[in-house]
């Protein structure tokens, strides 16, 4: 499911990024590679997310979070 549907405080694993090479590479450079664990710190402001991934905090806008596919950790 897309990251945009995940609620506050949940942990998920990244499965895929549906995007052209430029942005995909950028996200990957920032540590968003397949299988990485992420926590949603805030999805408060109408679509923008604050994520915690590899010990850093990333802000991702709503268009980004819709294209990142994740699965929840069971």
């Amino acid at each position: 499911m897309p990251l945009s549907m995940i609620s506050n405080g949940q942990s998920v694993l990244l499965t895929d990024i549906n995007w052209g090479p430029k942005l995909k590479k950028k996200l990957q450079d920032m540590g968003l590679t397949p299988g990485v664990e992420m926590i949603v710190i805030s999805n408060d402001t109408n679509g923008s997310f604050i994520l915690k991934v590899r010990d850093s905090r990333l802000v991702l806008g709503c268009s980004v979070t819709q294209q990142i596919m994740v699965q929840s950790i069971v």
């Binding site: 450079d29 664990e37 408060d44 990333l58 806008g61």
Partner: protein, 682 residues
């Protein structure tokens, strides 16, 4: 040893590079622009054990891929300028992501030294890092430091010198890309090894770039040697057998490589809870509280600028007043000609002093801005503003250069380089000057002090807010007309909150205040001389002010401003001089009204020897004074900004447009303020 060593500082944004740079160089660093390079670089020199070390601070990047300008700049510098040592700053509290860049830097083939910064933060979080082990696994020296406290700096310098002398050999471990890719790399190295350009690069790295079809590299090689046969086939075939695209696989293998190293050298407690930063973020970036908190903090910042700044303003102003009087008196005693006396007392001490009296307010403004920036709050504002900015068609990131504009529009416009989309960048360049810069502050302090005693903070706060609103509305207009397009994806890292250090923020503030004082001594000084001259002379010689050239010029333009409520030649002339530098508006007023030394007093106490009545005779009322402030807030920026707009847009068309439309916007809004305000009975 006489040979100097050049080191390049590279690292992720916010890994503490600037802090380390300052720890190295103290206050001696010089900020300068580099030819041909589009990102501001800092350079510094230090002596260490008889070795001279030149430090070049490269832009912070996450990667050395060719997708953004800063990354290309950093990469080209290391490849082309060939520094003796690449000093890679790694944030120990964020080690995994930071080492990703390190693997790329090491692949470039230059000696790399890793400075493991913010060890204290990592330790506080319970991360135990075995530096020796890490160094062994990476194959390059790793030195733990705390740049903010200057810990480990000597060790680091010793290591750098040793590496440059060859006493320590860097032998970085290669990332294992897997059998298939490794085979391709070998093949490619064979193909490109005869390329005359290849000697400059590490063959393995070059091979990887060719396989990745890195356009910049392919272009350079092609330009230098027209035929690099079959590389395209290499890249194409290599993608066939992988389950993801080539680039993704490379990134993934790099992170796998790092994860392996970290599992051996770093022990982290496996509590995945929220840190203090995260908890603060829960409040400050809250859906409902975010904006009000931002507005509140801004108000406190301006209140601080006034109430505390004005205490010092009072002190300084007395000094200039006394200086003017005593110099005037001694010149009279010495029998100097009247004109010279007037030039020195009214022109120089009055004009320049009039600008310098506001140094305390400027300093406190920058202290406030510095604290907000250094604490990490500014980045949150981008997140908070994203909702509004997205409606405009920009991302929250575009708000950052605008916030920088509260200090000065020049760095604000340069800061737009972080925006990926050219149209968004142009939009941000065109609207940033609406954010009220520090140089405009003296005008507000003066006018608000005289016409709105007791309500200065509120009046000035309203101007700053008006600036933000106009900037956002202008951006909206541009995005709906000239630069259509959806908001670019918003991707940004949030720095952890840090308590600003006196030294860090102090340097920040000092640099700005120094620039302000220097400007007063140079640009404003010359401007005041010219203003004094044109106000005291016309073609027939020295005359009364209202018959002077300056008054003549002012009178030509004054009718333009009549509908705005300040159609007097004094205001018109001051505004024209404001094109040189916004501070000059106050400087000219001081010369015109012959009360340079009283400007500060006027701002603090409201009335001084007929200052109000002089301004009133000139036609100023509370309402027209407010309209005047609105106009100065919004109208055409100073020449420095116009110059940087030209440089950054590389187009006279856009530069001309920027100059003209801002004038029109300022005129229309000041008109609305004056006319509507008049109807409402203000």
């Amino acid at each position: 040893m006489s040979k100097s060593i050049t080191i390049a500082l590279a690292g992720n944004p916010n890994s503490g590079k600037t802090t380390l740079f300052n720890a190295f160089t103290g206050a001696r660093h010089s900020v300068g622009n580099w030819p041909g390079v589009t990102v501001e670089k800092k350079e510094g020199k230090i002596q260490h054990n008889n070795a001279q070390i030149n430090i070049v601070d490269l832009p912070g990047t996450y990667s050395l891929s060719p997708y953004s300008l800063e990354e290309v700049v950093a990469r080209n510098y290391i490849v082309d300028e060939s520094p003796d040592v690449v000093l890679n700053i790694v944030d120990a509290s964020n080690i995994e992501r930071n080492l990703y860049l390190s693997t790329q830097l090491m692949e470039l083939g230059k000696p790399v030294v890793i400075a493991l910064n913010m060890m204290d933060v990592a330790e506080k979080r319970g991360h135990k890092i075995d530096c020796k082990k890490l160094s062994e696994l990476l194959g390059v020296p790793v030195v733990p430091i705390v740049a903010a406290q200057k810990k480990g700096i000597q060790d680091l310098l010793n290591t750098i010198v040793d590496v440059s002398k060859g006493k320590i050999i860097c032998n970085p471990t290669d990332v294992d890309y897997g059998k298939e890719i490794e085979a391709k790399i070998k093949e490619t190295i064979e193909v490109i090894k005869d390329n005359i350009y290849a000697h400059k690069f590490n063959p393995r790295w070059l091979a990887l770039k060719v396989l990745e079809e890195d356009e910049a590299i392919l272009k350079t090689i092609k330009l230098n040697l027209s035929k690099l046969q079959s590389h395209e086939q290499i890249a194409a075939t290599s993608e066939m057998s992988l389950d993801d695209d080539f680039e993704s696989v490379i990134v993934d293998r790099k992170y796998t490589h790092i994860a392996k190293i970290i599992s051996k050298a770093v022990k982290k407690p496996k509590v995945f809870g929220l840190t203090t930063s995260d908890k603060i973020d829960k409040v400050l970036t809250n859906k409902w509280l975010g904006l009000p908190i931002f507005a509140g903090l801004m108000y406190i910042a301006f209140w601080f600028t006034f109430s505390i700044g004005n205490i010092f303003l009072d002190l300084i102003d007395g000094y200039f007043g006394a200086l003017g009087e005593s110099v005037g008196a001694s010149l009279e005693v010495a029998g100097t000609a009247d004109w010279l006396n007037s030039l020195v007392v009214d022109g120089i001490i009055g004009g320049v002093g009039g600008v310098l009296t506001f140094v305390p307010n400027i300093a406190f403004l920058f202290i406030a801005i510095g604290i907000l920036e250094d604490s990490g709050y500014m980045a949150r504002v981008a997140f908070i503003m994203d909702r509004a900015m997205r409606k405009v068609g920009l991302s929250g990131k575009a708000f950052i250069p605008m916030l920088v504009g509260f200090g000065c529009s020049v760095p604000a416009i340069m800061g737009t380089r972080t925006l990926e989309e050219e149209n968004d960048r142009l939009t941000a360049i065109l609207v940033s000057p609406f954010m009220s810069c520090g140089a405009r502050l003296p005008i507000y302090i003066l006018f608000a002090g005289v016409f709105f005693p007791g309500k200065e903070s509120t009046v000035v706060y309203s101007l700053y807010m008006l600036g933000i609103v106009v900037a956002i509305l202008a951006a909206l207009t541009f995005k709906k007309t000239l630069f259509k397009g959806a908001a670019v994806p918003f991707i940004m890292e949030l720095p952890p909150y840090r308590i600003p250090t006196i030294k860090g923020t102090g340097i920040h503030v000092w640099e700005r205040v120094k620039a302000y004082i220097l400007k007063a001594g140079t640009v404003i000084f010359s401007a005041c001389l010219v203003i004094w001259f044109i106000l005291n002379f016309n073609l027939s010689g020295m005359v009364e002010m209202q018959d002077s050239i300056g008054a003549g010029i002012g009178k030509v333009f004054a009718p333009i401003f009549a509908p705005l409520g300040f159609g007097n030649w004094q205001a018109a002339l001051s505004l024209i001089t404001g094109l040189l530098a916004k501070e000059a508006v106050v400087g000219s007023m001081a010369v015109i009204y012959g009360l340079g030394e009283a400007v500060g007093e006027a701002a603090v106490d409201g009335d001084v020897v007929g200052f109000i009545s002089t301004l009133k005779t000139a036609g100023f009322t509370q309402l027209s004074a407010y309209a005047f402030m609105v106009f100065t807030l919004l109208y055409t920026p100073c020449v420095a900004v116009i110059g940087v707009v030209k440089r950054e847009t590389n187009s006279w068309k856009w530069t001309g447009f920027s100059v003209a439309y801002q004038f029109v916007v300022a005129w229309v809004i000041a008109l609305l303020v004056y006319q509507v305000g008049g109807l409402l009975g203000f």
